[in-house]
């Protein structure tokens, strides 16, 4: 197999991946990428879990330890089968809180703490170094296989150079496709598509080698079983601690590995893809694991003793002259290594730029040069440098550890490192009592213990930790030996590190959380995270600060770029119904802005930047209330409904009363009209009748005169009635013209008595007056007032039924009110009728005898009302008595009488 052909194939493959990523990015920007929303691509991208460790290292692991290799895939299987419990919540929270990395998740949950973000980033970067080194090692190894005739060809220095070239190439690819722009969601569609393609290549390659081994080299599955039983691998040792511990560890790793978080959570486009991935991803894992043991067994048979089992996947086809298959296997291995490195580098670079670089920039205040977009450039530069830095660290670890360890063992070191994040993460998702202090303590001690018991010893005794420490413990304390803490020796080093680091981590996390009190922000975020499924939407997190929209716009332009920021602000302004580019600073807008910015620079940094401008993000009472239970909202709503109902009932009742009154008035009006027509018709009938008679020829003159007299009387009566009606209507409508005059009450009474004297002149009334009291000067409408007196006295003359009729007139002065009583000695007016007599057309006795229309007292009442006084019946005086009260001096209001 010519080496140059190999290199050419590699470069062609990389170019192919470039093209795929490029096209996918373009299509995604244009929005025409239908298969990006397919759950298949999502599931394939998850395969980035299977790195060169799986492709090469699994066979080596199987050859050394039997079936134990399968634990690395059983853990993730269980996590995905149980997606409903953990993964679903994780994805939901990340979507609603716009989480961009695992450090972002932890930092955001525990009160948007920048410090926690830094710690988690540090853990992830440190744990990634062995992992990246392992990929470089495997690629270098696979190159070396082809470079010489013997399976373990090149000597180390050349291998190191290969690894350097590979590291450099990968860094370049990642920078080119991972950091082209800042996506608000931190999604990299081109990269995800390229990863999916690589997943297919990986699977096809491994399965091809497997199929080759099972059906071509051996004679089918039954033969394989026989071969297994006959080989060195017939019996294997299940170490219970390792079996359970590694299943647990791999389950923890699938949740906490930065690259897994990136493809699983951040790049997730649709929550429903999870349900497909829940069975499809375990299926992928099973397919990748299925042929591992057969390949190992056949490799042990065919290849000479002492060959590196890690490379069986390559060396077996080569040994059996299958050049094409070997090439395919090589590309598969290459794919698995490169996909891991690319995604991991992107994830780590995002974390470093959002949680380390941005806070540093903020801490040092505003930079010089405020052209729009310069902050974006800084962020992108930070990311590129981080990618290069991470690759350099990985390469450094590779050279320091000599690149000779078993691939699987190196990978497990990284697993234990990231597993330290697990307690804090599970607490973030499920426990409202988890606090920042607890998380800090747990993460810190877990990280430290991991470093001491596993990471640093991996460099070899004496490299970082002095050899004597391994024997005698730290500071000579025996119970602080890196591989035998607290005197528990004889434990497998991996399990030992796993146990101690996680146990102390969890203990301090739980203890710290229970003993400390969280800040309001922590509690708010805690409720939002843990109750992610109950909430209909996130509540606004900003109380109205003193931010100027222009300041916010300037800041947003620096981060999002001028066009994007302006478009965002304009859209918000329009949503608020405003023209122009500056919306009002409402909590909803600030919240939206924070979310948008956190897509680019991380939640903690976005929060801090807005806080700088808005002058503090206090958690207001409204925030806390908004997070409260739905029950409280329901109660409030129903109380409001009750109040509305009460109001409606009241309104209905008022409407009913008004309707009743209107109906009554209508009835009264009808009665009035019928009465009038009756009253008018009666005299008219007489007039017509008698004038008809008089039109006859033979009517004697004395009858004519009499009839003419009757007609005359009736006409007068009619006229008087019409006058009264007109008067009444004028008085009632309040348009009466009052003429003010001054006169003495005595004179008025004299005149009234004289005028009324023509009523029933034959009756002789005895008059009782008090001359002294009547010396009152009245300034009012004298004629109207006198008219009232005339009416009353006439009534007395008409209706008083005593034998010797007498009329008493009593005058009293009360302040500026004058009170005149007219009391006769008749039988008075019975109680039921006392209110009735003031109504129109009300007559208590036979109308003919009364001689009037019954309007007199009604007119009196209206007049008195217009003069600012009153008239009323006075009971208990022995006869009919009327009291007239009026002000001595009438004050007319401007604009006419009241």
């Amino acid at each position: 197999m010519p080496f140059n052909l190999l290199v050419l194939a590699c470069l062609a493959y990389v170019a192919f991946l470039f093209t795929v990523a490029f096209v996918a990015d373009r299509r995604a920007e244009a929005g025409t990428l239908p298969w990006l929303s397919s759950p298949l691509v999502y599931t394939l991208s998850l395969s980035v879990y299977c790195t060169a460790w799986t492709f090469y290292g699994a066979v080596g692991y199987a050859a050394r330890s039997g079936l134990e290799f399968v634990t690395i895939y059983l853990g993730p299987t269980l996590v995905f089968i149980g997606w409903w419990v953990v993964l679903r919540k994780l994805v939901r929270i990340a979507k609603t809180q716009r989480v961009t990395s695992i450090a972002d998740l932890i930092s955001s949950r525990y009160g948007k703490s920048s410090l926690l973000g830094v710690v988690v980033t540090l853990i992830c970067v440190t744990a990634a170094t062995p992992y990246i080194a392992l990929q470089l090692q495997s690629v270098a190894l696979s190159f070396s296989v082809f470079a010489s005739d013997t399976p373990d060809g090149w000597h180390l220095p050349d291998r190191d150079t290969t690894a350097l070239w590979v590291a450099g190439g990968l860094a370049l690819f990642t920078i080119l496709f991972g950091t082209r722009n800042l996506d608000a969601n931190e999604q990299h569609h081109g990269v995800v598509t390229a990863i999916a393609v690589e997943a297919v290549v990986k699977l096809v390659a491994l399965v091809a080698v497997g199929v080759f081994v099972v059906w071509i080299v051996a004679d089918g599955p039954a033969d394989i079983v026989t071969r297994i039983d006959a080989s060195r691998l017939a019996g294997w040792e299940l170490v219970p601690g390792r079996w359970a511990g590694l299943i647990f560890l791999s389950a923890a790793a699938i949740l906490t590995l930065p690259r897994m978080f990136q493809v699983l959570v951040v790049e997730n486009a649709d929550e429903r893809h999870l349900s497909t991935a829940s069975w499809a991803f375990p299926l992928y894992l099973a397919a990748m694991s299925l042929f591992v043991v057969p390949i190992a067994v056949v490799g042990l048979e065919v290849l000479p003793d002492g060959s590196n089992p890690d490379l069986f996947v390559l060396t077996l086809p080569l040994a059996l002259d299958q050049g094409g298959l070997a090439m395919l296997a090589f590309l598969g291995g290459f794919s698995s290594a490169t996909s891991m490195v690319i995604v991991a580098a992107i994830a780590l670079a995002t974390m470093v730029s959002n949680h380390v670089v941005m806070p540093l920039i903020l801490a040092f205040g505003e930079r010089k040069g405020t052209e729009p977009g310069d902050l974006r450039r800084v962020v992108l530069l930070a990311r590129r440098l981080s990618i290069a830095g991470v690759m350099a660290l990985g390469y450094g670890y590779y050279t320091l550890t000599g690149g000779s360890g078993a691939l699987a063992a190196t990978g497990l070191i990284a697993f234990v490192g990231v597993a330290q994040i697990l307690p804090a993460m599970l607490g973030a998702l499920f426990w409202r009592g988890a606090t920042r202090t607890g998380a800090m303590l747990g993460l810190g001690t877990g990280f430290g213990l991991w470093l001491y018991t596993l990471y640093l010893p991996s460099f070899g005794q004496g490299a970082v930790i002095a050899a004597h420490v391994f024997e005698g413990g730290l500071f000579g304390l025996g119970w602080l030996r890196p591989e035998a803490l607290f005197g528990i020796s004889g434990m497998d080093p991996l399990l030992h590190a796993l146990f101690w680091s996680l146990a102390v981590n969890t203990l301090l996390f739980v203890g710290g959380s229970l003993l400390t009190f969280p800040s309001p922000m922590e509690r708010l975020q805690g409720a939002r995270f843990v109750q992610a499924f109950d909430q209909s939407g996130p509540a606004p997190g900003w109380s109205r600060g003193q931010a100027e929209p222009e300041d916010l716009l300037v800041m947003a332009q620096r981060i999002l770029g001028e066009d994007v920021a302006l478009a965002f602000f304009q859209a918000n302004a329009r949503a608020q119904g405003k023209d122009g580019y500056l919306p009002d600073i409402t909590p909803a807008f600030m919240n939206d802005l924070e979310r948008r910015l956190s897509g680019s620079i991380g939640a903690a940094a976005a929060h801090a930047m807005i806080a700088q401008i808005a002058g503090g993000a206090s958690v207001s009472v409204e925030d806390l209330m908004a997070v409260a239970n739905e029950t409280a909202q329901i109660m409030e709503y129903s109380a409001r409904l009750e109040a509305q109902q009460d109001e409606l009932t009241r309104t209905a009742r008022q409407l009913r009363e008004a309707n009743d009154k209107l109906t009554q008035l209508s009835v009264q009006k009808d009665a009035f009209l019928s009465q009038i027509s009756h009253e008018l018709r009666t005299p008219m009938t007489s007039i017509r009748a008698f004038s008809e008679i008089m039109m006859d020829e033979d009517v004697p003159p004395e009858l004519c005169a009499r009839y003419a007299g009757i007609i005359h009387d009736e006409a007068i009566r009619l006229t008087r009635l019409l006058d009264d009606l007109l008067d009444l209507s004028v008085l009632e409508s309040g348009t009466v013209q009052l003429t003010l005059r001054t006169a003495s009450l005595r004179d008025m009474l004299d005149r009234a008595l004289q005028a009324a004297g023509s009523t029933r002149p034959e009756r002789d009334f005895a008059l009782h007056r008090d001359g002294q009291a009547e010396q009152v000067t009245v300034s009012s409408d004298i004629d109207r007032l006198t008219q009232v007196f005339i009416n009353i006295i006439s009534n007395a003359r008409k209706y008083c039924d005593a034998e010797a009729p007498a009329l008493r007139i009593v005058v009293r002065r009360k302040g500026d009110q004058v009170q005149v009583d007219f009391i006769d000695n008749g039988s008075g007016i019975p109680k039921p009728s006392q209110a009735l007599i003031f109504e129109k057309f009300a007559r208590l006795t036979d109308s003919a005898k009364a001689g009037g229309a019954g309007l007199g007292l009604a007119i009196c009442r209206e007049i008195m009302q217009n003069l600012g006084g009153s008239i009323a019946y006075l009971p208990g005086q022995g006869g009919a008595a009327f009291r007239v009260v009026f002000p001595a001096t009438l004050v007319l209001p401007i604009g006419g009488p009241a």
């Binding site: 039997g66 349900s275 829940s278 069975w279």
Partner: protein
């Protein structure tokens, strides 16, 4: 006014969907137990375990879990939109 209480008796479809979710929570536990079961088997008298037999066991359980999850996920997909409160 007292807060609205969870009804004791719910309609059969809601009951079914809640039991479906319970099944989704139970299957991983079952899977974990089954996968850890090999720890309990006593090895052969000569102290070695059969790779072939254990291998077949592991992959058989694996396939079974995948099929069970496939069935559950399909049912959950149809079920999820708007089917009442999430948690019991």
């Amino acid at each position: 006014m007292k807060p609205p209480r969870q009804p004791v008796f719910v309609a059969p479809p809601i009951y079914r969907s809640r039991r479906l979710r319970d099944a989704a929570r139970f299957v991983p536990v079952l899977g974990a137990v089954l996968m850890l079961l090999p720890m309990l088997w006593a090895p052969e008298p000569d102290g070695a375990r059969s790779t072939a037999r254990d291998g077949i066991y592991v992959f058989a359980i694996w396939a079974g879990l995948i099929v069970a999850t496939r069935l559950l996920s399909t049912r959950l997909d149809e079920d999820t939109p708007g089917s009442g409160p999430d948690e019991d």
